[in-house]
Symmetry: C2
Subunit: 430 residues, 2 copies
């Protein structure tokens, strides 16, 4: 953890270093992924069979390619009533929030009598990647599948590796709740390639979303354009802006909720109260010692954590914009006023009773958010990621007479005479 | 040009070949682009200077890095009144159409007393790529810059190569009209890298749009995630669905308006009238002979053109959806009814008086559209490409008491105790 003081001489430089620091693992995976993708594209199922045996020690032919609805239902029924209720509350709230994201169609007639508009339609099929093992989160299944459902996607496919045959019942229960249509027991770059190009077994999809390791992320990046993808994701981060009137333990808990994800995660506190900064640092140490995920959280906090003292919280806001954080907590008086100043953040958690983790699970907005300063230009996952817009235009003879001559002039100026002629030939009729 | 008949035995196979045909040039540009991007990232201006001298035979230091507002104004004033009027009509209509794309913010309080919503903001800076030479179209400047302006982008940057110092006055005039803030005389992958990473001279941007050659497209693809990009673009295409009651010359003109773009462009006609199909084929030949762009248009039509006979136009619509064309013209009776059936198309041109070219220039909707079957999942360029959404959440003590326990249960189930504690520590207070 580093501590910075905005009043120090070297602050501007130190803060720029913090903004520019790359936390992404520098694994040279691009070449591996290129080879895997090419082989799945040409060999299809045979490639999936081989990679799954090698990477997951799982034989698709003898142990099964798919998990079916009965598996998901059984997993759901095996959950405790408390967990079923929690997942149901989450699913209801997520579905309700995303249903309101559905865009409006347009169909207008303008002053020149020209009809124009745009119509939104869902993609035909979407694929959701769900990691195997520790990072397989049922909340991620809901956050990826329910927006696709809200969009009206007809066919919703899940791929997930089951290394050594191990299946995560929570993930299956969430798939049951979200109404996933197919679940294939494949993972890694090979699963992404199969979804993009299709194989004899797996029909291709149009959009692929969901978290994954570096190979999965690189495969999505390489196949962007063959299919739609949600985004390029990197390590997660939280920025907390807090005044001295918070319980230091609460703020420490919020910082650690991010740190426990991964050693590359980042937690940053801005405060205007030096004594409070000390208290939070101590509270983090105390909480770490009691945490089951201490090892990961400590590694993240020590390598990437930061506490930044600012003269007042308003002056923190331009710094926050430069970080463009995935998650931003405003735990202070006048949180509303500060929120109005925010230009770049994936999601903002306003007030002392809005810990970021409540948004990870049950609040409703999506927890798939732009990381690594991408909130400058990217948005969280939404219904729009599973839909596309078709613009349209309808002119009658009078409409073409009104605007056609300008098109003819511009087409000739651009050296495109056939463009000009396709308009002019109709104008000559009139 | 190939002719297919949906009634023939081999049709399904032949049509699948048409759908799957790759028209994209198989240039091995990825490695070149990787090297160029890496060098611009580390060497900045020095790399731009060197590449521009090599590729554009242009010395940035002695001949100038930028074109300024006075250059643009002079170009504007040098246009004929007819062209000025045409560009102004285009700009007005494009601006009006895109202004209505601005998304609504959300700010709601739900039944549990929880406040949630989403807020849209423009990106800080956008870069528009404009090709040099023959393919430098003022219409593209308007179609890329005006949506950024409508979004409220603060800084709008154009990059365009000026090989041998040659500047296209139409492009500068369009930049004047669109209010572009900076124009840099650089192009190719090096210009894209400069916009993404910034150099000493050129400040970085958040989103890069605009057409370019294979190097430019590959650079955008590689830098997707460092910046936002519009899309992965390929060769352009049109599908025309026409009955026998059209003038064959009109439909031939529409097919050629696409073919003249590039030899890799594709024009496809579906009709239910075999005699009309013959007439269109003859009309294309006649029109080609008189066309200044004959060489390109003929190469495209011969290599990629198709006329497909269907028993009735309704049965063409599922085939159209498989092609998911960039442009779709419906020149027939009941065009409205057919339009209702369309699931996948970039833009649809309804009725006999709506040639696609009118949409390229002056109608209002964007002419930057998904190509190569990407309309299955992608949309045309819009104001949304220059904006991003920040979701937000605000809970009070009661709201957290209502939904917090479910978050605690799910966090524990996922093995994330610090997530659980950040909620539980607040619930204990109550």
């Amino acid at each position: 953890m580093i501590r910075l003081d905005a009043g120090d001489a070297g602050f501007a430089r130190a803060f720029t270093d913090l903004v520019d620091a790359r936390r992404e693992a520098d694994e040279d995976v691009a070449r591996d992924v290129t080879a895997i993708v090419a082989r799945v594209r040409t060999e299809g199922d045979a490639a999936l069979r081989d990679y799954t045996r090698r990477f997951d020690r799982f034989d698709l032919d003898t142990q099964g390619w798919k998990l079916d609805r009965a598996d998901c239902l059984a997993a759901w029924e095996g959950l405790s009533p408390e967990l079923r209720d929690a997942l149901e509350l989450a699913a209801e709230r997520i579905a309700a929030y995303h249903a309101k994201q559905k865009p409006q169609d347009r169909d207008e007639i303008d002053a020149a009598g020209i009809r124009l508009g745009a119509r939104w339609r869902a993609v035909d099929a979407a694929g959701v990647y769900v990691p195997g093992g520790r990072a397989a989160y049922p909340s991620s299944v809901l956050m990826n599948a329910l927006p696709a459902r809200a969009a009206g996607v007809g066919r919703l496919v899940m791929v997930t590796p089951t290394p050594d045959g191990e299946v995560n019942p929570l993930v299956l229960a969430a798939a049951h709740l979200a109404g996933v249509d197919e679940i294939w027991r494949v993972g890694g770059a090979q699963a992404i390639a199969a979804l993009a190009y299709g194989t004899d077994s797996i029909a291709p999809v149009d959009v692929i979303t969901g978290p994954g390791n570096a190979w999965v992320a690189e495969a999505k990046r390489q196949l962007y354009g063959v299919v739609g993808i949600d985004m390029v994701a990197g390590p997660s981060e939280i920025v907390v802006v807090a005044d001295g009137r918070n319980d230091a333990g609460w703020i420490a808990a919020d910082l650690l909720s991010q740190a426990e994800h991964d050693p590359t995660s980042q937690s940053i506190l801005f405060t205007d109260d030096a004594a409070f900064a000390d208290k939070v640092a101590e509270a983090v140490e105390r909480a770490l010692a009691a945490l089951a995920t201490e090892k990961t959280a400590r590694a993240s906090w020590e390598a990437n954590g930061a506490i930044i003292l600012v003269p007042d919280l308003v002056s923190a806001m331009p710094l926050v914009d430069r970080l463009a954080p995935e998650h931003l907590e405003l735990a202070c008086d006048n949180a509303e006023g500060l929120f109005d100043m925010v230009r770049h953040a994936g999601s903002v958690f306003i007030g002392r009773y809005t810990p970021e983790a409540v948004g990870d699970y049950v609040a409703g907005p999506n927890h798939v958010l732009p990381t690594g300063r991408r909130a400058r230009f990217a948005s969280g996952l939404s219904v729009l990621d599973f839909m596309k817009r078709t613009s349209f235009l309808s002119l009658d003879r009078d409409g073409l007479a009104a605007i056609g001559p300008a098109a003819v002039a511009l087409a000739h100026a651009e050296g495109l005479p056939a463009h000009a002629e396709s308009v002019a030939i109709r104008l000559r009729e009139a």
